[in-house]
């Protein structure tokens, strides 16, 4: 969906749903995921429909993901870092996921 105009100068590797992906250190997690071709970052808690980044400036809360076991984090506002473990935000709370980790 999106491509990089230039190769990352400070590449980092992180995981989304167990899949290793590459990004640029410091760019937003949402940007890194979009560059990796992932657009559905969460499921709606109401109708379970897929949702993805919409406003990219912290207003719409559509880009919520799980970061290192913590839910409801805005992917557009959190920087990509080496070794981050991310998960798609579930629609309905998943009791097992509340154990933390990923």
């Amino acid at each position: 969906m999106f491509k990089r105009l230039s190769e990352p100068k400070a590449p980092v590797t992180f995981e989304f749903e167990g899949q290793p992906l590459k990004g640029e250190a410091g760019e937003s997690i949402a940007a890194a995921l979009l560059a990796a071709g992932i657009i559905d970052l969460r499921r709606s808690g109401e109708d379970d429909s897929p949702r993805g980044p919409y406003c990219m400036i912290g207003n719409c809360f559509e880009c919520l993901v799980w970061i290192e076991g913590q839910g409801s984090r805005q992917a557009c506002r959190e920087p990509a870092r080496e070794g981050l473990k991310l998960r798609r935000h579930p629609g309905r709370p998943d009791p097992q996921a509340f154990g933390g980790g990923s």
Partner: protein, 480 residues
């Protein structure tokens, strides 16, 4: 010890940065007030000059001269040792007090408090929400979002895309996309091809002193035409449809109506824009009175001529106060400094007063330019008729049809609509849906939109963890 400053500014965009710089650059003899600037981004510039301080030269030419020219003065302000900067910092509570305000802030997991005698909201604009059927489908994003990806991460769309909506940003961003080698499949304008009848008088009035911005606008329009991008005008209705084969549920097609005829575009990416509105979330949270701006069809904080809100210790400026654009925001920062200093008992320097006068002079043509832009690009077409199946509240998945149903039950305003349906009670806390809910209620009940009110804002203003709350520290982190 709770950290204390004279003036706290929320927002390091053109308004906040220029105000901070003006406040601390009085004459040499007097001690400047202590000023703290808070922003969620990692450096100054706001949305308009996002990443201008660290932009790679290869992208700078695409983003344009005006964007690049902000770098020197942003840099100068950023390095001013008399300003305390707290970046990557969110305000999750603002408590007005008799002698000022107390802010609860979270910076990289550190939770701390700041007391200020004056709080200035320079919270900028957000894109006007554009509800239409299927707009929650991944692959539908705002133009501002795509521009943020370009500025911040050097990302551009790698597939043909559709631009939908109206406003100066549409033309600017189309130019930037074409310059980056992106293929634009079509531009769907919600407005007419030429100038609106109501905009001609404002156009002639705006012309003196605004040759440069108006000329740039015309040039962008011409570039789009020369690129032979198919353009459609007066789009009255749109429907985004997910691709049934895509497991990610991404966009497959965009249907649109012009007059009585429906057309379909196969596309995976639609970028939407319908102008910008003040981001009033913080002002509302502080209990500042908001007023309905008929010309710009949005709420804005009610301010006196110096920029003081109904809460005397809280001031506001820039696009968060009223949409005037980035250049005006910068001059407003210069113009506000003397009155703000005086309110704290500081004597503004002669230099400060002279700069304030210059700023007032510079703001006059920008006001005329804005009147033209407001007349030419009103919210219209596809986003003004909200169909029953449109999710006005994306978080809680509440449709316009449901809002019309409760309108019929006598729902008296947006806050009561919350109790009826949970509209505006999801993670975005009503930032996206407040105005749309009011618009649908107003339409159904035959009332003016302003009569339906705006959402009461509740704490916390941003998500904080219980762990963060428990770790509340009094000391400020190191500024910078």
């Amino acid at each position: 010890m709770i950290h204390k400053v004279d003036i706290a500014i929320i927002g390091a965009g053109p308004a906040g940065m220029s105000l901070a710089q003006s406040l601390v650059s009085g004459d040499e003899k007097t001690r400047p007030p202590s000023v703290a600037v808070i922003d969620e981004q990692k450096d100054g510039g706001g949305q308009v000059y996002r990443a201008a301080l660290r932009q790679a030269p290869d992208l700078a030419s695409v983003l344009g001269q005006e964007y690049q020219s902000a770098r020197p003065w942003l840099q100068e302000a950023s390095q001013n040792p008399d300003i305390q900067f707290y970046f990557r910092t969110s305000a999750w509570n603002i408590e007005p007090r008799e002698d000022g305000v107390e802010l609860a802030l979270v910076s990289a997991g550190r939770n701390w408090r700041l007391r200020a005698k004056r709080l200035v909201l320079a919270s900028g604009a957000m894109e006007r929400p554009t509800p239409f059927s299927g707009w929650q489908t991944p692959g539908v994003m705002t133009m501002g979002a795509a521009q943020t990806l370009m500025k911040d991460a050097g990302l551009v769309p790698d597939q043909p895309l559709v631009l939908l909506g109206s406003g100066p940003l549409l033309y600017l961003f189309a130019k930037q996309l074409l310059q980056s080698g992106v293929s634009i499949q079509a531009v769907l304008h919600t407005g007419p091809r030429g100038l609106r009848a109501a905009a001609w008088a404002a156009f002639w009035a705006a012309l003196p002193g605004n040759f440069s911005p108006l000329g740039k606008g015309l040039l962008w329009r011409m570039q789009l035409a020369l690129a032979r991008v198919p353009q459609v005008f007066n789009v009255a209705e749109v429907v985004a449809q997910p691709d049934p084969q895509d497991t990610a549920g991404g966009l497959g097609a965009l249907r649109y109506r012009v007059g009585g005829h429906w057309h379909t575009l196969q596309t995976g990416l639609v970028l939407v824009h319908d102008g910008v509105v003040p981001n009033t979330h913080l002002a509302a949270a502080c209990g500042c009175s908001l007023t309905w701006d008929q010309q710009q069809a949005c709420w804005r904080p009610e301010l006196d001529e110096t920029g003081r809100s109904s809460q005397s210790q809280i001031w506001a400026l820039g696009d968060g106060a009223r949409i005037m654009g980035s250049e005006a925001a910068r001059w407003q920062g210069v113009a506000m400094a003397p009155a703000l200093l005086e309110s704290l008992g500081y004597q503004p320097s002669a230099a400060n007063l002279a700069r304030c006068q210059e700023a007032q002079r510079r703001l006059a043509p920008l006001q005329r330019l804005r009147r033209f832009l407001d007349a030419q690009f009103p919210p219209a077409g596809a986003f003004s008729e909200i169909s029953d199946d449109t999710q006005v509240c994306r978080c809680e998945a509440i449709s316009a049809g449901e809002i019309r149903r409760i309108a019929g039950l006598g729902c008296s305003g947006v806050n009561q609509a919350r109790s009826f349906t949970r509209v505006g009670m999801g993670p975005c806390m009503g930032r996206q849906c407040g105005a749309s809910v009011a618009k649908v209620l107003a339409g159904a009940q035959g009332k003016p939109q302003s009569a339906l009110g705006y959402f009461t804002v509740r704490l916390p203003l941003k998500p904080v963890t219980v762990g963060d709350l428990c770790a509340l520290e009094a000391d400020a982190p190191a500024s910078g």
